[in-house]
């Protein structure tokens, strides 16, 4: 297979300079050709994973900004970078080529004040209308410690007109025990014409906060980007840091990380399956599944000292080990869960009232899933077989047989079934891990970070691919920490999947996506 960077260089010639020493390969192109580069990569069927900017005032001599876009095709990642001027930072928008660029670029404009030229929507994203227009928190000149004054402003919602069209605003405070966000539906009768999401309510300035922390202590913050995915986030951050410090992680630590990651996956998938069925008024499943989930959390607490295994993955390794008793405990716990889970799945399959709700509801077609560059459970329910554990296996996944689920119907049922398959395969994986885990230390030493270096890692969390990109400033401090939670791309897919469904099916569809608000809003 032709490498993405070769394709790019073939067209751009000397206009594209590639740096092979950085992981992943990074190509610099002139700012005015940034969108053209994306167009070429799109033709090579690459996905857009993330787009972000850095303020280089403190990092290098040119002192302006840089814009980055990360692409993925199969197992390869490629970053395309353009340097932008200090006084009038702007770059051509990628929205002509890639749908997810809509949100990435609104966010870039809102938080860094860099203009995506040609973007059709100039409304802010995450930044609310009552922030000052020139409040760009990711810029170095912005003092994050100062409280922000509010100004008057109004958010312009999309409107729908016509006979019988009405609007339903929902949120930010929802009826259940969930995170806040606002959804606005335009509907005719029961049918949803359009859904507009408005997120950003739980924006806590996480990316900016990273810049005030030390490399080692920041892993705690990474573990709290999205509390339900704490293992995967702290793992992705740690791996990105390890890649820039050439840190050697002991084998056993890598296997333990995989153990934690798979346990996190099972626990969250169990919770999701229960909650989805509950939204179809099948509460039996909620109570059964939440009980199984509780068993896992209690075991986590007992063996690893935390119910969600928070703060147990650190740069260089992990902080807890398991002994033979723990292995046996996990084995018998899994036997119990598997036995009960199989019974529940049989019940799920034969409940026709449930089937009626979950089949053909909230369909995200394979074409759309691809155009939206979706990841994780959502993508695998819509025929895209993307899974970092298969495509880019970090140890120990390279020696374990991971089975990536793939369904094509793209409905609520498909997303439930992906979770069913993954719970089963994670149970198998954990058994394999327990049987084959090598003996060694569990903590490696991370060296100092050299100035102006970058680190990158992608980890398959239970929602999907999590990407961290780290950049050290000229004193070796954290200059930028870019976080791409799967929710940053998948939220947009929900807007598409819901069109034409009936309003009462929204909670069901939303649950089947179950994206993170905190991971998106950062």
């Amino acid at each position: 297979m032709k490498r993405l960077e070769d394709t790019l260089v073939a067209v751009f010639g000397s206009d594209a300079t590639r740096d092979e020493n950085i992981n992943p390969v990074t190509c610099c192109v002139p700012a005015q050709r940034f969108a053209e580069a994306a167009g070429i990569l799109k033709e090579s069927s690459a996905f857009l994973c993330a787009q972000w900017t850095t303020d280089d005032t403190l990092a290098d001599s040119h002192g302006g900004f840089s814009v980055y876009a990360c692409f993925r095709e199969g197992a390869q990642y490629l970053i395309v970078k353009s340097a932008l001027s200090h006084d009038n930072p702007a770059f051509p928008s990628l929205t002509k080529h890639y749908l997810p660029a809509y949100r990435f670029e609104r966010q870039i404009w809102s938080l860094m004040g860099v203009t995506p030229v040609g973007h059709p929507d100039s409304r802010p994203w995450i930044k609310f209308e009552d922030w000052r227009k020139d409040a760009w928190p990711l810029r170095k000149s912005f003092d994050a410690a100062k409280p922000m004054p509010r100004v008057a402003g109004q958010y312009l919602w999309l409107r729908a007109e016509g006979e019988g069209v009405y609007e339903i605003p929902v949120g930010p405070v929802h009826a259940g025990i969930i995170e806040p966000g606002h959804f606005r539906f335009q509907a005719v009768g029961e049918t949803i014409l359009n859904l507009e999401e408005r997120l950003g309510y739980v924006h806590k300035g996480i990316e900016k906060r990273f810049e005030s922390m030390s490399w080692l202590s920041a892993v705690k913050l990474a573990g709290r980007v999205s509390g339900d995915t704490t293992v995967a986030h702290s793992m992705a951050y740690s791996m990105a840091l390890e890649s820039m410090t050439f840190c050697h992680v002991p084998q056993r630590a890598q296997w333990l990380r995989a153990l934690f990651l798979e346990r996190e996956r099972i626990a969250n998938h169990l919770g999701d399956i229960g909650a989805i069925c509950n939204d179809a008024a099948f509460s039996f499943m909620l109570y059964q599944c939440s009980r199984l989930k509780e068993i896992m959390l209690a075991t986590n607490h007992k063996l690893f000292g935390h119910r969600f295994i928070m703060d147990r993955v650190v740069p260089g390794g992990v902080t807890v080990d398991i002994d033979d008793n723990a292995k046996n405990e996990i084995r018998s716990e899994l036997d119990f869960i598997e036995k009960n889970f199989d019974k529940l799945v049989a019940i799920y399959e034969e409940s026709s009232s449930l089937e009626d709700r979950v089949r053909n509801t909230g369909i995200l077609s394979p074409e759309l899933a691809r155009q939206l560059c979706t990841v994780g459970v959502v993508a695998r329910g819509s025929g895209l077989s993307v899974d970092c554990r298969v495509d880019n296996p970090c140890p120990p996944y390279d020696s374990l047989a991971v089975e990536a689920a793939a369904l094509t119907s793209g409905d609520v049922h498909a997303r439930v079934w992906v979770r069913v398959v993954e719970i089963r395969s994670s149970i198998r994986l954990i058994r394999d891990i327990l049987n084959a885990i090598p003996a060694s230390g569990i903590a490696g030493q991370c060296n100092g970070v050299s100035p102006d270096s970058t680190g990158f890692a992608a980890v398959e969390g239970w929602r999907g691919e999590i990407i961290y990109w780290l950049h050290a400033g000229h004193k070796g401090e954290i200059n930028r920490c870019m976080i791409r939670d799967p929710s940053s791309v998948n939220w947009l897919a929900l807007e598409y999947a819901i069109k034409g469904n009936i309003v009462p099916d929204f909670p069901l569809c939303n649950k089947s996506f179950n994206q993170s608000y905190s991971g998106h809003d950062l």
Partner: protein, 168 residues
């Protein structure tokens, strides 16, 4: 149907006997309830949860309070969809600047006695997110708080102990 019933009977009652303790880490301020209100609330308390900016970790534990192992309804704790019926507001997360107005409005909608419980380190004092342009810090920066339950996240038992403090 028969499978469902069989599974229910096979599962049986899995609820733990939780014992409430007077946890010294949990702080209480300014609750003045007379004996009859305490008695009344002890049997039946309606709770509205608000996420003011959490990472979702605390929400998972509040969810867990509802699972069959903890089964909070047996203690009279009932989660409501509307703040208008709530006796207690259970708030998580640091107060995010974008949630400030929604939090105030939710608080205003709660009828007296408006007991507010801050769940988690973030809700108590801003936690790891601290006080920045986007995070105002603890919940008490926006609305008065009566019970502070620390922990990241506090376990369901910790949260129960927080409720218990109201009646002490």
């Amino acid at each position: 149907m028969i499978r469902i019933l069989r599974q229910i009977f096979r599962t049986g009652i899995v609820t733990d006997r939780t014992s409430h303790i007077d946890d010294p880490r949990i702080k209480v301020v300014g609750i003045n309830l007379d004996a009859s209100s305490k008695k009344c609330l002890r049997r039946s308390m309606t709770v509205r949860q608000v996420d003011a900016g959490s990472c979702n970790g605390c929400e998972l534990e509040i969810h867990a309070m509802n699972n069959p192992v903890y089964d909070c309804e047996r203690l009279g704790i009932h989660f409501s969809a509307s703040p208008r019926f709530a006796d207690v507001l259970l708030v998580t997360g640091p107060a995010a600047i974008n949630m400030e107005i929604a939090l105030r409005r939710t608080y205003d909608a709660v009828p007296a006695p408006k007991i507010v419980i801050a769940v988690g380190d973030c809700a108590c004092n801003g936690g790891i997110f601290g006080e920045t342009y986007a995070s105002l810090g603890g919940i008490d920066k926006v609305i008065p708080v009566n019970v502070y339950i620390p922990g990241c996240p506090p376990t369901p038992s910790d949260i129960f102990n927080g409720f218990y403090k109201i009646f002490l």
